[in-house]
C-alpha cells in the first residue's frame, strides 16, 4: 500500500458526508442492498403477477431513483405490494424493505387524489375498526345487510370491494363486553391469584399482561380473545385489557400513515404506561404484534415506542418463553369438538417474527390432535388486499397453493394465528379455522 492511500490517522472515520435528516434515514438500508434478489424470490406477488416489479425495486431501487431525480415520483405499483413483509426476513443484508415500502406507499397515497373512489375505498377498508365498531352496535342487522346480494353488487360496482367474499360475521357480544361482564381486571386478578395458589406460585408473583386484542378478536372471533384470557389466567397471569385502537396494519398496507399514527399514539401511550408498571403486551393476532414490535418503531417517533416494542409478544410465544408449556401439554389431552386433524397455515407476519413453526412444534406431542403444516406459501389475502375487486384474482392465485395443500392434508379444519388468513382459508376450502389459543384453552382449561 502506498502512503498516499493510507488514511490519515487524524481523520475521523467514518466521514459523515450527508446532512442529518430529521426523518428516519433510509440511506444506510438502501446502501446495504447488494442486489442478490433473495427478496424477490420470497415475494408472493412477484411469483404470480407479471406487472409487479418486486420488493427490491419497491424498496432500495426506487428510493435511490428518487434521490437523483426530482421528477421521479413513487411508482403506482407500490400499491400492489401486499405488505406481507416476507422480504424483511429474507434479506441477508438487513435492508429494512418493509419500512421502505411503507414509506413509499405513504408518499404515493399522499399524492393520490382525495376525490378518487379508490382512495376512499382503501380508506374504508383500512379503517375496518370504525366499520366494525358501527356494525357491533347492531350485529345481527349488520350481518344480514353486509352479505345481502344486491348491496354487495353495488359495493363492487361503486367502491371496488369484491363481491366474491362473504363479510365476516359480527359477534352479538364483543370481547370487551364479555370482559366487562366477567369482572374485568379485578376479576382477572382474583382468578389469577387463585390459580397461583393452586399452582404453588407465590401469591404476589409478578405475572401481569396487557392484552392487545385488536379489532378482529373484539368484534368477530371473540372466542380467540376469551381463550387468551382463560389460558393466561390458568398459568396465573393477571390480565388487563387497556384502551386501544386498531394496530394500524390495514392502514400501513394502504399507505394511510397518518391514520395509522393516530391509532398508534393511543396504543403506545396506553401500553407504555402498563409496561412501566411491569406489564408485557400480548397480542393474539400476529399482524397486531408485528405492528407494535416492528412497524411502530420503524415508522413513528412516539415516546415509549421502543420500550413497548421490546415488551410485546405474541400470546403463545410468551407462554412458551415464560412457562413450561411443553410439559403442560405433554400431560394434556384433547377430546370433544377440537379433537381434530388441523391443516395449519403460518401467516407471513408470524413468519417474520420467527413464529412460523411454533404451533406445529408445540402440538406435536398433544394427544387427541394432529397438526400438519401446509407449507410456506402465502395465503394471498394480506388483510384488505384480497378485498379489492382488482386484486381478488391475484389474491386467489397466491392462495391456490395453500388451498391445495390444505385439501391434501388430513382433516377438514384449518388453524392459523391471523384472522384474515383464516378468512382466506375458509373462503378457499370451506374449512372452519381455529386459533392455537383455542386449542390451548381446550387442552389446559376447558
Amino acid at each position: 500500500m502506498s502512503d498516499a492511500s493510507q488514511p490519515d490517522a487524524d481523520d475521523e472515520f467514518p466521514i459523515d458526508v450527508f446532512d442529518d435528516d430529521p426523518d428516519f434515514d433510509l440511506r444506510p438500508g438502501s446502501d446495504s442492498c447488494y442486489k442478490c434478489s433473495t427478496c424477490d424470490t420470497n415475494c408472493p406477488v412477484a411469483e404470480v403477477d407479471d406487472d409487479f416489479p418486486g420488493p427490491k425495486f419497491q424498496g432500495p431501487e426506487q428510493w435511490r431513483l428518487k434521490q437523483r431525480d426530482d421528477e421521479h415520483t413513487v411508482d403506482a405499483s407500490v400499491m400492489d405490494c401486499s405488505n406481507c413483509m416476507r422480504c424483511d426476513e429474507a434479506c441477508p443484508a438487513d435492508v429494512p424493505l418493509s419500512q421502505m415500502h411503507n414509506a413509499a406507499r405513504g408518499e404515493y397515497v399522499d399524492g393520490m387524489s382525495k376525490l378518487s373512489v379508490t382512495y376512499w375505498r382503501n380508506r374504508l377498508l383500512a379503517n375496518y375498526r370504525t366499520s366494525a365498531f358501527l356494525a357491533s352496535k347492531a350485529p345481527r342487522l349488520a350481518n344480514a345487510a353486509m352479505n345481502f346480494g344486491p348491496a354487495r353488487w353495488l359495493l363492487e360496482k361503486t367502491m371496488g370491494i369484491t363481491s366474491e367474499r362473504e363479510f365476516p360475521a359480527f359477534a352479538t357480544e364483543t370481547f370487551r363486553e364479555w370482559w366487562t361482564r366477567r369482572g374485568g381486571a379485578d376479576g382477572s386478578r382474583r382468578r389469577a391469584q387463585e390459580r397461583r395458589a393452586a399452582r404453588g406460585d407465590p401469591r404476589d408473583a409478578d405475572k401481569k399482561v396487557a392484552y392487545f386484542h385488536g379489532c378482529y378478536a373484539n368484534y368477530n372471533t371473540t372466542a380467540v380473545g376469551k381463550a387468551m384470557v382463560r389460558v393466561f389466567e390458568q398459568f396465573g397471569y393477571e390480565v388487563v385489557v387497556p384502551e386501544q385502537k386498531c394496530s394500524g396494519t390495514p392502514m400501513f398496507a394502504n399507505g394511510m400513515l397518518e391514520d395509522a399514527r393516530r391509532h398508534a399514539e393511543v396504543n403506545v401511550s396506553s401500553m407504555a404506561d402498563l409496561v412501566d408498571q411491569g406489564y408485557d403486551a400480548i397480542a393474539s393476532c400476529t399482524s397486531c404484534s408485528m405492528a407494535l414490535r416492528q412497524e411502530y418503531p420503524e415508522l413513528f417517533d412516539i415516546e415509549g415506542v421502543d420500550e413497548v416494542a421490546a415488551h410485546t409478544f405474541e400470546a403463545v410465544e410468551y407462554l412458551r418463553v415464560h412457562e413450561d408449556l411443553r410439559g403442560a401439554l405433554a400431560d394434556a389431552e384433547i377430546d370433544g369438538a377440537l379433537a381434530e386433524e388441523f391443516a395449519y397455515h403460518a401467516p407471513c407476519h408470524a413468519r417474520n417474527q420467527g413464529l412460523e413453526r411454533q404451533a406445529v412444534e408445540l402440538f406435536r406431542e398433544l394427544d387427541g390432535v394432529g397438526v400438519t403444516d401446509v407449507g410456506d406459501s402465502c395465503s394471498g389475502i394480506s388483510g384488505t388486499y384480497g378485498w379489492k375487486a382488482e386484486k381478488y384474482d391475484t389474491s386467489m392465485a397466491i392462495g391456490d397453493e395453500m388451498f391445495d395443500h390444505m385439501e391434501a392434508a388430513e382433516g377438514q379444519t384449518g388453524m392459523t394465528e391471523c384472522p384474515t388468513c383464516a378468512m382466506q382459508m375458509e373462503h378457499g376450502t370451506g374449512y372452519e379455522v381455529r386459533h392455537p389459543l383455542e386449542l390451548l384453552d381446550a387442552a389446559l382449561v376447558a
Binding site: M1, Q6, F13, C36, S37, T38, D40, T41, N42, C43, A46, E47, V48, D50, D51, P53, G54, F57, E89, A90, C91, P92, R293, Q294, P297, D306, E307, A309, A310, H311, T312, F313, R320, V321, H322, E323, D324, R351, N352, Q353, G354, L355, E356, R357, E361, R364, D373, D400
Partner: protein, 435 residues
C-alpha cells in the same frame, strides 16, 4: 433496531439438549446429526436460510490448497491438506459418513455412487469439479460425449447461452455445444423473479405465445424446437420448477425428443431452494425445532456457555442448552466480522487469528493469496474453538462450516463438503456429550 437490550433478561429459558446457531448447510447438517443421535435439538438462525444463494452443487474438494486440480478423487487428497484444515480435524472417515447422511436425506441428488468428482458446466461456462449434484443437472455432465444445445432466455442476463457455449468449447469439453437465446413464452416482465418462471412451469399455466393460448411447458418446448438441430441433450438455466422439476424436465424432453438438463445459476437459485426444502423436511422428520428471523446477540457463562440470548425487536429471549454448535457462516454470512481494528466472531467472541495491520489481511493481487479467505475460528480435535494459546474457549461449544478458519473454500471448491463434514461431526459430538 438497536442491538442494545431494552429489557432485563427473561428468567425462564427455552431449553434443549443441543442448540445449533445458524441455518446454512453446516447448521442444518449438525442439527440433523445431533437429532439422529437422539438429542433434543433446537436450531436458531438470524435470517432465512442462505441456501437459496447456493448453486445447489455440493462439492467436497475440487483443488488442493496449492491450487492443483481439478482433483479426480477428493478423499485421496484430504490427508495431504495442511494440518489446520477442517477436513484434517475431522478426518476422511467422518467426511464419508457425513456425505452418506447427506445422501440419505436428499433423494434428488446424484454422485454418491462413486468417490470421483463429476465435472459440471456452470452458468459462466466453466467446468466445476463437484461430488454431488441434483438429478436435474446430471445430463449436463461435461465428461459426457453427447453434443449439447444450451438455451438462454432473453433478458435473463445471468445465462448468456452462446457465451457459455463458447466458453465450454474453449475449456475443451469433448462434445460440440451451441447456445441459442429464445424469448420465454408469455408476457413475463424483463426482470421477472426466478420464482415466477418456476411457478408458471410448476402449474403449467396458460400463456399466450405466437398468437395462441397454450400451456407453458408445450409453448416453451415449441420455441426451443424451432432452434433444435438434433442435439441429444438440451440445457436450460435452472428455472425448471420448484415443486417437481423432474416432471417438467420429462415433459420438455418428451416434446423435444432429447434429454433435458439444468445449468446451476448464481443467487438466488432454485437448486439451492430445493436443497433447502429437502433439508428442512429432514429436520422436521427428525423432530428438530427451528426458529428463524432473529439473531443470537449474547451469552452467559465463563468457560462454559450457560445460555444465549436471541433478540427480537429489543427483547432478549434466553435459549439454554447443554451443548452448542456455532454455525453462523464466514465473512459473507457475518459469522465472522471485522472492523478497522480487528477480525472477530460476534456471538461468543471466539479468537480469530489475524495480522495486526489490516493492510496485511489481503494480497495486492486480486487473485493472490488472501489471508482473509482463511479467516475463522480454529479448534481442537473435537471442533471446539481455541484461543491464541490453543486452549479450549468453551467446554460445550463446537464450530462448524465457514465460521471455521484454515481453508479457502472458494479456491478449493470445498465449501459444501466442509460444512457437511464439520456440521455432522459437531452435531454428533454435541449430542453424545449432552446430558
Amino acid at each position: 433496531m438497536p442491538a442494545s437490550p431494552l429489557t432485563e433478561a427473561i428468567s425462564v429459558a427455552i431449553e434443549s439438549d443441543v442448540l445449533v446457531i445458524g441455518g446454512g448447510l453446516a447448521g442444518l447438517t449438525s442439527a440433523l446429526a445431533a437429532a439422529r443421535e437422539g438429542a433434543d435439538v433446537r436450531l436458531v438462525a438470524a435470517k432465512q436460510s442462505t441456501l437459496r444463494n447456493a448453486s445447489g452443487l455440493v462439492d467436497v474438494l475440487g483443488y488442493t490448497a496449492d491450487g492443483e486440480g481439478p482433483l479426480v478423487d477428493p478423499y485421496d487428497a484430504i490427508p495431504n491438506l495442511p494440518a489446520d484444515h477442517p477436513y484434517r480435524t475431522v478426518g476422511v472417515d467422518t467426511v464419508r459418513k457425513a456425505m452418506a447422511l447427506f445422501d440419505e436425506v436428499t433423494p434428488r441428488y446424484r454422485g454418491g455412487h462413486t468417490d470421483a468428482n463429476a465435472l459440471l458446466p456452470t452458468h459462466g461456462g466453466t467446468v466445476k469439479p463437484t461430488a454431488r449434484y441434483p438429478a436435474g443437472v446430471s445430463d449436463g455432465i461435461a465428461s459426457d460425449g453427447r453434443d449439447a444445445l444450451l438455451v438462454g432466455i432473453e433478458s435473463m442476463t445471468d445465462f448468456d447461452a452462446p457465451h457459455v457455449a463458447a466458453h465450454l468449447t474453449a475449456a475443451g469439453v469433448p462434445f460440440d455445444v451451441r447456445g441459442v437465446t429464445i424469448q420465454f413464452p408469455g408476457d413475463l416482465r424483463a426482470d421477472a423473479a426466478i420464482t415466477r418462471y418456476a411457478k408458471l412451469l410448476d402449474t403449467n399455466g396458460t400463456v399466450t405465445a405466437d398468437g395462441r393460448e397454450c400451456p407453458v411447458r408445450a409453448a416453451l418446448a415449441d420455441r426451443v424446437a424451432a432452434e433444435h438441430d438434433g442435439e441429444p441433450r438440451i440445457g436450460f438455466p435452472a428455472i425448471l420448477g420448484d415443486d417437481d422439476p423432474a416432471e417438467i424436465r420429462a415433459a420438455l424432453a418428451e416434446r423435444l425428443d432429447a434429454a433435458v438438463f439444468e445449468v446451476p445459476m448464481g443467487p438466488p437459485s432454485l437448486p439451492g431452494l430445493r436443497l433447502e426444502d429437502s433439508l428442512f423436511a429432514a429436520l422436521d422428520e427428525a423432530g428438530v425445532s427451528i426458529a428463524t428471523g432473529n439473531p443470537v446477540v449474547g451469552y452467559d457463562g465463563d468457560g462454559r456457555v450457560e445460555q444465549v440470548y436471541v433478540e427480537k425487536n429489543g427483547a432478549r429471549i434466553p435459549n439454554s442448552a447443554d451443548q452448542y454448535v456455532l454455525a453462523t457462516g464466514g465473512l459473507v454470512g457475518k459469522g465472522i466480522d471485522s472492523d478497522r481494528e480487528r477480525v472477530y466472531e460476534p456471538v461468543f467472541d471466539c479468537h480469530v487469528a489475524h495480522a495486526d495491520d489490516r493492510y496485511d489481511w489481503f494480497d495486492r493481487e486480486p487473485f493472490g493469496n488472501h489471508d482473509f479467505a482463511r479467516f475463522g475460528v480454529h479448534t481442537d480435535g473435537d471442533l471446539r474453538p481455541v484461543d491464541g494459546d490453543d486452549s479450549v474457549e468453551f467446554d460445550n461449544v463446537r464450530a462448524a462450516g465457514s465460521v471455521l478458519g484454515g481453508y479457502d473454500f472458494a479456491a478449493e471448491k470445498s465449501g459444501s463438503g466442509v460444512s457437511i463434514a464439520t456440521g455432522y461431526a459437531a452435531g454428533r459430538s454435541a449430542a453424545r456429550r449432552a446430558r
